[in-house]
Subunit: 136 residues, 2 copies
């Protein structure tokens, strides 16, 4: 596939999603696990586009989503920090999804500083994550 | 807006739609009116993207769609034939929407040869238009 950065930005402006889950988790000392993910969902007829993204970014997985839909998904913190975030810093989204991305990036930076392991950090992340969901 | 062809192709792969309506119409001698249109629908918060498309293509209109959604829409036969179709010939879509575009293009070529004004042409256009709807 002849996939290129500007095409990816346009496609993600349409179909991409930045999400941060903050889920109750007994084994975490703060009681919550922070799960950021970047996803692109498509009907299964266009699964080759999702594999194209996986090949381009050299990270993430392609999995079934709901019904006839498939998703390209990146959850690894290092992959998000070292590949996905720099990509969208260098090739900015043009839709309001850019604001969601900026908040997503803020949370990833907090995670890289281990702030998600402190109660105050989790509270701040919860608040930012809520704002992300409102935008998208 | 710094909009470029590859971004447009990616965005339309996600959000674009090629549609051909074949509607009963008393004033047409063949009894039907053929209405092709290219649309991109977005939440109103991203209306600037739709105006960006309008500015880039120098044709079409931005109108409200359903509820909070807005649409960029090109219906003019000459604009479709001279601007939209050449654009996607030169910057091919990567999703299965490309197949819908090819069928859309076939219908526009038939219209340019005035085949939509003959009963046999309308029947063929109806059949192709149905296939377009199945893909998208």
């Amino acid at each position: 596939m002849n996939i290129n950065p500007d095409w990816i930005t346009g496609f993600v402006d349409g179909e991409g999603c930045f999400h941060v889950g903050v889920n109750p988790h007994n084994e975490m000392s703060v009681g919550f696990q922070v799960l950021p993910e970047f996803t692109v969902v498509q009907h299964k007829r266009d699964i080759q586009l999702l594999y194209g993204l996986k090949e381009y970014f050299k990270c993430g997985v392609v999995r079934s989503n709901h019904g006839d839909r498939m998703a390209y998904r990146v959850r690894g913190i290092e992959h998000l920090l070292q590949i996905i975030i720099p990509f969208f810093v260098n090739h900015p989204l043009k839709s309001k999804k850019r604001i969601a991305f900026e908040k997503f990036k803020t949370i990833l930076m907090m995670i890289s500083r281990k702030e998600h392991l402190k109660a105050s950090g989790v509270e701040e992340i919860k608040s930012i994550a809520k704002q992300i969901n409102i935008i998208q």
